[in-house]
């Protein structure tokens, strides 16, 4: 059993956006030389998400709009106070909720060196509190 790790830095451009990282993940699988196994894509930030869904522009907008609708930015969140650990105000509880709803990782199976993805399945990094520089780690495990 082999393991392969790759860290990727992604600079997001908007406050809220979906970034298609399918090709980045496929490239890491290829670099790993692992033919059969699985990969875990993990984001290091609790105001981002990793998700798999259909690559369609309208749906990408709907996903973000729906998440905004169910996690309103102006509400009475306890999180919104001075955060001594950071030395600044915490003002993004809603971004954390969106991250919880999407999750911070995705698992993709690998067979014969290829990611097993449905024809419409793409892998996304979701930015909920950008623009920021974000880090994801891709781990590939198998033989």
């Amino acid at each position: 059993m082999k393991t392969f790790f790759k860290d990727i830095i992604i600079e997001t451009k908007k406050n809220s956006e979906l970034i298609n990282i399918t090709d980045i993940v496929k490239k890491a699988i290829n670099e790993s030389n692992i033919k059969n196994g699985f990969t875990i894509v993990f984001s290091h930030h609790t105001t981002t998400g990793i998700l798999i869904n259909e690559n369609e522009t309208g749906l990408e907008m709907d996903i973000m709009n729906y998440l905004k609708k169910i996690t309103p930015e102006e509400d009475n969140y306890f999180h919104h106070h001075y955060f001594y650990k950071d030395g600044r105000m915490a003002v993004n509880a809603w971004a954390h909720f969106r991250s919880i709803l999407t999750g911070l990782n995705a698992i993709i199976l690998i067979r014969n060196g290829e990611a097993i993805l449905g024809s419409r399945e793409n892998i996304y990094l979701a930015e909920f509190d950008g623009p920021k520089e974000r880090k994801i780690t891709i781990m590939v495990m198998g033989e």
């Binding site: 600079e11 406050n15 001075y82 030395g87 105000m89 950008g130």
Partner: protein
């Protein structure tokens, strides 16, 4: 709606690459523990909400803390790389020997456009003779001065010299020197307001959020704690927008102002025109 951000701390990755001491200074003196972002993501934040110019503010804490957050030279380098978006200010530690001469050299050599002082972090009395030597130089050079006023979260710093009322006497002694009281002097907001109302040369910046989210604090500050009518009728020409990046994201602060229930022309003045006037652009 165009915007000028008058309060940006240039604590970007590139600054940390230039000064290996800066991370310790950010943590132990500036008391900010979040990882720095590259300049490009700061620019993305500015572009997201149509910020045309951002004023970069260093703090020279040489004598008390042996650091600069960051140095004037680093500010100048960032401006040199992105002159279309950044305006650099200088900082000088008033406790330094030859502070006045150093400020003069720094401004001229680095082409900086104003001065930032922070009585709490730099540990100086704004009414002291040493501080007045700095004002003399700023006044001679016809530069704007932005000063920290109001709350400091870290109890290791005294807030004795952060009450904005202190600046009333200085404003009267230097009537030609434009003084911007940062953070609206919060929680001494009425003190800050009256100093700005009675002195033509005094302005207020709205940077940071002390009582909740950006919108909650801006709404409280500009429509409730100080009534909307006072902001619109008395202080419309005296308030400038500032974010306090990286203590807060720029887009959140801009949107907080844009979403306020105040007169649209006053919003334009706050977000853009008042700063334009101070910076003589």
């Amino acid at each position: 709606m165009k915007v000028i951000d008058f309060h940006v701390h240039p604590l970007v990755k590139e600054a940390f690459e230039e000064d290996k001491n800066l991370w310790n200074a950010q943590k132990n003196v500036f008391n900010l523990f979040t990882s720095p972002q590259p300049t490009s993501t700061l620019i993305n934040q500015l572009k997201e909400v149509e910020v045309e110019k951002a004023v970069l503010l260093p703090i020279d804490c040489s004598t008390k803390w042996n650091c600069k957050i960051p140095s004037n030279e680093i500010v100048a380098k960032i401006v040199e790389k992105f002159p279309e978006i950044f305006i650099g200010f200088a900082s000088i530690d008033p406790n330094k020997e030859n502070a006045r001469e150093e400020l003069n050299r720094s401004i001229k050599k680095l082409n900086l456009k104003g001065v930032k002082l922070n009585p709490a972090m730099q540990s100086f009395n704004p009414l002291s003779e040493k501080a007045k030597e700095i004002y003399d130089e700023i006044n001679d050079m016809k530069l704007p001065l932005i000063v920290h006023t109001g709350m400091v979260w870290q109890s290791k710093y005294s807030i004795e010299y952060c009450n904005p009322i202190i600046w009333d006497g200085i404003a009267r002694e230097y009537p030609e020197m434009k003084i911007i009281l940062a953070h609206f002097g919060w929680p001494w907001i009425w003190e800050a307001a009256i100093v700005a109302m009675r002195n033509e040369n005094v302005y207020l910046d709205v940077s940071n959020t002390f009582t909740g989210t950006c919108f909650e604090h801006m709404k409280y500050l500009l429509t409730e704690a100080i009534p909307k009518r006072v902001i619109e009728r008395f202080l419309g020409g005296k308030i400038v927008f500032g974010s306090d990046y990286p203590r807060i994201e720029v887009p959140k602060m801009v949107l907080a102002i844009k979403n306020l229930d105040i007169n649209e022309e006053i919003k334009i003045k706050i977000l853009y025109e008042n700063a334009l006037k101070i910076l003589k652009m």
